[in-house]
């Protein structure tokens, strides 16, 4: 551990402020609590909100897992793990079941998380209404008044134009019937995992200086019309080329030379686990 820095890099005052914001976020599910986002040795937009939450929560008893687009080995995930390791000496893992804190970008693991685990999501744009309203003071008022008509209209226009809702990720959802929330750029495939989950979800947006949360067993409903139900991505007829799974979120891999398209699990840890089971 680098002794030139405080444990977990941030000073204790910064941690306390982030902790207070996290507690308020848990008390008001889906509401974006403002906080004084700190400078980190990593550019804003590269997961600083998630990192600040991780650094404020983590302690010597924790086991950390970091994933980026489902992968434990991507540059973002590896560097965040190294950084947290340098300033905490916390053990890291790629095993989803062993982790107590999982920091993630763009995916929720395939294995259902338990009540003892906390999933921290990195969020680039926390405001679900930003696509329909650019002004922060107006979106704040819209949340206060639960005025979500423009968002519903956008969904309706998408249906009229394209016969389907065309939002692929950051698909908005309602939390406990009160707040519209951006679930971060997870694919629609992962939205149902937020509903009545056993684990605590914390969302950190470093650049936008917001923290929000979904406590365990909280109602999270993706936006849909009565006659047009919510639909997640379908991978019918496709399986993972490595483990053969047919019920996971699949990445498409295109071979430019042969023109062949193959699919493989986005959650590398889960894919590895399935292959290990099969090899036994």
């Amino acid at each position: 551990m680098n002794k030139n820095y405080n444990f977990a890099f941030l000073d204790e005052g910064s941690k306390r402020e982030i902790r207070r914001a996290a507690l308020k976020a848990v008390a008001i599910p889906g509401y974006q609590v403002p906080f004084g986002s700190r400078e980190l040795p990593i550019g804003r937009g590269w997961g600083t909100g998630g990192i600040q939450l991780t650094l404020s929560l983590i302690g010597p008893d924790d086991m950390l897992k970091v994933i980026d687009q489902g992968s434990d080995e991507s540059v973002n995930a590896v560097n965040i793990k190294k950084f947290v390791g340098l300033c905490t000496d916390i053990e890291t893992t790629t095993d989803t079941r062993k982790a107590t804190i999982i920091q993630t970008r763009h995916r929720i693991p395939e294995i259902p998380l338990t009540n003892e685990q906390i999933l921290i999501l990195q969020v680039p744009i926390p405001e679900p209404l930003r696509v329909v309203e650019a002004r922060e003071e107006v979106t704040k008022k819209m949340h206060a008044e639960k005025d979500y008509a423009p968002m519903w209209l956008q969904l309706y226009e998408s249906l009229v134009k394209y016969k389907r809702v065309t939002i692929a990720s950051e698909y908005p959802c309602m939390v406990e019937g009160r707040y519209m929330m951006n679930p971060s750029p997870i694919p629609k495939f992962d939205n149902p995992k937020l509903h009545k989950a056993e684990c605590l979800y914390l969302f950190g947006a470093g650049r936008e200086k917001k923290i929000y949360a979904v406590p365990p067993y909280t109602e999270v409903v993706s936006l849909a019309f009565d006659d047009i139900p919510f639909e997640k991505e379908s991978f019918t007829g496709k399986i993972c080329r490595l483990c053969g799974s047919a019920d996971t979120y699949l990445d498409e891999v295109f071979d430019a030379q042969t023109g062949e398209r193959v699919y493989q699990c986005s959650d590398t840890s889960y894919c590895q686990e399935v292959r290990s089971r099969a090899a036994r």
Partner: protein, 194 residues
Amino acid sequence: MSALLRKHNFDSVFDSQKMFRLILEAMANPGRIVRIEEYADKLFGDEPELLAVAVTLLDNGVSFSACESEPLSEEIAALTLAKRERPEAADFVFVRDLKDMNDAIESAKRGSLSDPYTSAVVILKDDKDPVGSLMLSGPGIDRCIEVPVSMAVKNALTLRDAQEYEYPQGIDLFFVSSDGRFLAVPRLTQIEAA
């Protein structure tokens, strides 16, 4: 924090982290009683449990009230450098004497519809024995949970509900006891009819 180092054994880095995780666990799972005595025992004075919560969450960025308890108020101010405030304007309201409970809950900040995070957290010291149980429901609770509670907890929740806050306005309640039990009741936690 020099007073913290001189007088107490509470580690402002590692004990704060562990205390915070217990508080977060209690907030995320209302009705679950967590134990904070290991960390409260590292603080001296008459109210180590309340102080353990204070040193974990308070600093000069927030304000607090200890109601009528001047010694507790001095201790918290010395340990955390938080600003002393009237109960109706404080971010954290510490109630060590249950006779102050009604005033504290009735006057605590409820936040606004646009800024509900500006509401208060009310921390009550409650050493009374359970007289029954309450069925609680809401976010963080799998359907319903039965929690043994004292008359003080029942009265506090009844009084909270009587304020008829318009959600997301409201207050969050913490209950701590001398034997280290800690219970959190966030604003969305509801009492189910028996």
